[in-house]
Structure formats: structure tokens, C-alpha cells
């Protein structure tokens, strides 16, 4: 496996540390006056999500991780795995609950997700920034109430619960920002 030298490390590169794949967030050269230079590197462990800082001697080499980000289409779940497909060659990638995490709340069939593959298997799944989902359960809509600014909880087809304006009712499709989990707008009916 190829290595990086500390002076090649930059945001986005993936390395192996303590047996886990990690993503570089920042790399700062630290050099006291006349002395030894260090690379102070901020990293995210791609398995646990933990973010921390580690110091290397400048010029030290670090193992490259076999990690890549791919745009894959979500197909379906059998309850144990969530299946993603490469639209170019129809290859299937099963992701387990660990890799999917809370992202399952935003997965809709045929949506494109960024899947991080480690040694060819999904390590994490990032949903599109915006998804359109159907409201499956909410209190009856208050017709015409578009101005009061009140909100109520609504359960979506994926099981996600978001706060929506009072005028919305069951069966309607809404647009949600997956980064914040906030309601954005009513989606135009297809």
C-alpha cells in the first residue's frame, strides 16, 4: 500500500491510523524556533466519526487508506442491509446499519447518495442535501392557515419525524434539508 509523507497531507485525503480509515481535515506545520518540525493533523475516524488531532514528525510517512467516495443509487432494504447500486455497471453494494447510521431516515429509492467505500464495502453514506418525502402521519391540516407560523410534527414515509407548518396534511410530499432535518417547502406534486 502506498504512503503519504506528512508534507503531502491535505484536507480530504484518506489514511490508515490505528487500523481504521481516517480522513484528513487540516494539516498545520508546527516548527518551534530552531527545532524539529512537526505536522499537527486534524483527522476524522471514518468508522467512529471521532475527530481529533495527532502530531507527526515532519517527513514521517503514513499509510494511504483504500477509501473512495462514489455516487451510488439507493435501491432497497431487506431490513438488515441497505442496497446501493452503481448506475454504470449495476453492481450492488450492501451497507450495514453501522455504515448507514441515521441516514436511513432520508433514503428514498432511486436517490443518488455519496457512499464512501473502504476496501470495496460501504463505510458511510451521505444522503443528498435535499430529499422529497411523503407525509404518512400528521394531525389534520388547518386549511388556509398559512400565516400563523405554528408547526406540528409529521412522520414521513421513511420514519423520519420533522416539524411542518399546520396547513399540511397526510399524503402530501415535502422537501426536507437532510443536513438539519428541517422542512423546506411543499414539493410540487408529480
Amino acid at each position: 500500500m502506498a504512503n503519504y509523507s506528512t508534507n503531502e497531507l491535505r484536507a480530504g485525503l484518506k489514511v490508515m491510523l490505528d487500523g481504521d480509515p481516517c480522513s484528513i481535515l487540516t494539516n498545520e506545520l508546527v516548527k518551534p524556533g530552531k527545532g524539529q518540525a512537526f505536522a499537527r493533523v486534524k483527522l476524522r475516524n471514518l468508522k467512529s466519526g471521532r475527530v481529533w488531532e495527532r502530531t507527526f514528525k515532519s517527513g514521517e510517512s503514513i499509510e494511504r487508506a483504500d477509501v473512495m467516495d462514489r455516487d451510488l443509487e439507493y435501491s432497497y432494504t431487506d431490513g438488515e442491509f441497505w442496497y446501493f447500486m452503481d448506475p454504470d455497471n449495476y453492481e450492488q453494494y450492501p451497507a450495514d446499519a453501522n455504515a448507514v447510521g441515521d441516514t436511513h431516515l432520508w433514503l428514498k429509492e432511486q436517490d443518488r447518495c455519496e457512499v464512501t467505500l473502504y476496501n470495496g464495502s460501504p463505510l458511510s453514506v451521505t444522503p443528498p442535501n435535499f430529499v422529497e418525502l411523503e407525509i404518512t402521519e400528521t394531525d389534520p391540516g388547518l386549511k388556509g392557515d398559512t400565516a400563523s407560523g405554528g408547526s406540528k410534527p409529521a412522520t414521513l414515509s421513511t420514519g423520519a419525524v420533522v416539524r411542518v407548518p399546520l396547513f399540511l396534511s397526510q399524503g402530501e410530499i415535502i422537501r426536507v434539508d437532510t443536513r438539519s432535518g428541517d422542512y423546506v417547502s411543499r414539493a410540487s406534486k408529480s
Binding site: 508534507n7 516548527k31 518551534p32 524556533g33 524539529q36 518540525a37 512537526f38 481529533w52 507527526f56
Partner: protein, 317 residues
């Protein structure tokens, strides 16, 4: 391709004003401006500094080194009787890229015959106040600083104590090293962030192993290198010495540096025999200091990345 400068025109003007201000400061004090070659036949031996090498050209019989500082040439001028001198020069250090480092950078270096390092610190403080405006400053010895911040005596603590303090408080990729490695880790990772709260602060009198080119004296039972660093808001701005003048001791330090280089798998460097000859002839007792001009300009203009004060940074030159 981005042809545009990395600094704004305002920063480029600020640099011109800064340089004019520095020249006025030294002109008023009768310190002579000098200009020495950038390409030198010998590089530095210091294992922590790597020079860039120029090795092709019909004028070159051997490779030449781009200077990492004008120190050796200026000391030869001092030995030749120049009196107090200063220089504003480009210097080059391989592999140093970061928010405070650019492989090509500008140094102000000056030497004062008969000054000790405390007198030179006072003059540097005047210069900084002249450039950045009046401000309070303080001095703290390296020993006091370690004692106050880490409850350690950097001169007498065992390597194991230094190592443990570093390993307990930091996530490091290495667990072995010599005394200076641990002192450097502690200084750069645990003490410098504290210096950020101390405004303009001189740190002086380093352990002998960190003396670099400074005179070493025996004080309070330990060997002290009469070296200082100036920090402003935690950023290292200058490094100075009460200069070593003994040619034989200088040669021993060069050889010890090359020993270290060999152990670390680095290329050994030819000794600067011109400097050694000048010192044998007689370098007057003096103190000297090098100031990072790009960093001074960062402080002056409130920038936090060095590229913002360089006309063209390393990526665009």
C-alpha cells in the same frame, strides 16, 4: 492558472512602507545596510533546517545553496571590521509551507558589536514598537516559562519526565526521541498556545543543547545558551543570540550537527570554512537577531495566513 497576486494591493503598499520604516530606524542609529550573496558555497549544518540547492549552470563548479539566513556572510563582514550592520534579505528553507511558512521568505537580520542579548532585546522591542505602535512587553526565561506552564525544569528534568508530560497531554505518532525532541514538542504544542495570551514576550536563555549559534555560559548550576526568541500573540517573530565567537567551539558544533544528520539519515553538509576562518581571525563580541518580515507584516495588517502578505506565494511564483 491564477496569475493574480495573493496579497491585495493594500498589503503590497504596507510592505513598502514597512521596509521604508525599517531602513529609517537603522539609518537614524547609524547601522549600515549590507547586501550579501543569496547563493553560498556552504549550507547550514543545523539538522532542522534544509537548504534548497542550485546544481545546474555553467558558472557552477559545485552545487550552491540558497541561503537559509544571511548570518554567516554578515559575521564575515563583522570580522572584517564593518561595525553594526543590518540586512533585509530573502532566505529559503526547503519543506516549510504552512500558514506561517513559505519556502522563500524575507528576513531582517542585524548585528550589534558589544551588545549582549538583553541589550539587543531592548532594541528589538523599540523596533517592534516603532513598526506596530507602542505596546507593553515582557521577558521570561525559558526555565521560568516551563516551570510556570508545565511545572518542569527543562534543564534538569529527565528525558522520561519530559516524554511523559508530552505523551499524557498530546496524541503523538512517536514515543521515542532525544531530549530536544521532547522540549520542542512541549514548547510548540503546550507552551506556545499559552504565549498567545502574553502579548509581546521575549523568551531567553535556552538549554545548551538548543543554543544553536549562541554563546553558552554556566549560570545557576546549568549550561545556558544565550539565545532568545520573540513571540507576539503566540507567533514566533524573531530569534537572536549573544553570538558565539570561538572558532574552535563553532567547528565542534558544526561537526555535532553533521553527526546528528548522519543519525537521522540526512545528508551531511560541508562546513562553512570561510566563517570558521573569519572567526579565527576574530569576530567581535556581538549580538544578532533575525526577524521574520512577512510575519511582522501579518501582525501589522491583521492577516493570519502568510500568503496574504506575499505578492505571490509558493503556489503562484
Amino acid at each position: 492558472m491564477n496569475w493574480r497576486p495573493t496579497a491585495s494591493i493594500a498589503e503590497i503598499k504596507a510592505r513598502a512602507q514597512l521596509l521604508a520604516g525599517l531602513r529609517a530606524f537603522f539609518s537614524e542609529r547609524d547601522v549600515l545596510e549590507v547586501d550579501t550573496p543569496l547563493l553560498c558555497s556552504a549550507g547550514v549544518t543545523d539538522p532542522a533546517i534544509e537548504p534548497l540547492v542550485v546544481d545546474r549552470g555553467v558558472s557552477l563548479q559545485r552545487s550552491r545553496f540558497l541561503q537559509t539566513s544571511p548570518e554567516y556572510a554578515m559575521k564575515r563582514l563583522l570580522a572584517a571590521g564593518s561595525g553594526p550592520i543590518y540586512q533585509i534579505a530573502k532566505a529559503f528553507r526547503d519543506g516549510e509551507v504552512g500558514s506561517r511558512h513559505n519556502p522563500e521568505f524575507t528576513l531582517l537580520e542585524w548585528y550589534r558589536p558589544q551588545y549582549d542579548h538583553h541589550q539587543l532585546m531592548a532594541e528589538l522591542a523599540e523596533l517592534v514598537c516603532h513598526v506596530l505602535g507602542e505596546r507593553r512587553w515582557q521577558k521570561v526565561s525559558y526555565r521560568e516559562l516551563f516551570s510556570a506552564q508545565l511545572a518542569l525544569d527543562p534543564f534538569t528534568a529527565s528525558i522520561e519526565q519530559l516524554r511523559e508530560t508530552a505523551m499524557n497531554r498530546l496524541d503523538l505518532s512517536f514515543s521515542t526521541g532525544d531530549r530536544d525532541l521532547w522540549l520542542d514538542v512541549l514548547m510548540s504544542h503546550l507552551i506556545e498556545p499559552q504565549l498567545a495570551k502574553m502579548g509581546m514576550c521575549f523568551v531567553y536563555d535556552y538549554p545548551a543543547s538548543q543554543a544553536a549559534l549562541s554563546r553558552v555560559v554556566r549560570a545557576e548550576g546549568v549550561d545556558v545558551g544565550q539565545r532568545f526568541e520573540l513571540y507576539i500573540d503566540g507567533m514566533e517573530l524573531a530569534n537572536g543570540y549573544c553570538e558565539l565567537t570561538d572558532a574552535a567551539e563553532q567547528e565542534r558544533r558544526f561537526l555535532a550537527d553533521n553527526d546528528k544528520r548522519r543519525h537521522q539519515g540526512l545528508a551531511e553538509k560541508p562546513l562553512d570554512n570561510n566563517l570558521l576562518a573569519a572567526m579565527s581571525h576574530g569576530l567581535p563580541r556581538c549580538s544578532g537577531v533575525a526577524v521574520g518580515i512577512d510575519r511582522l507584516l501579518m501582525l501589522l495588517t491583521g492577516n493570519t495566513h502568510i500568503r496574504d502578505v506575499l505578492a505571490f506565494d509558493w503556489q503562484r511564483c
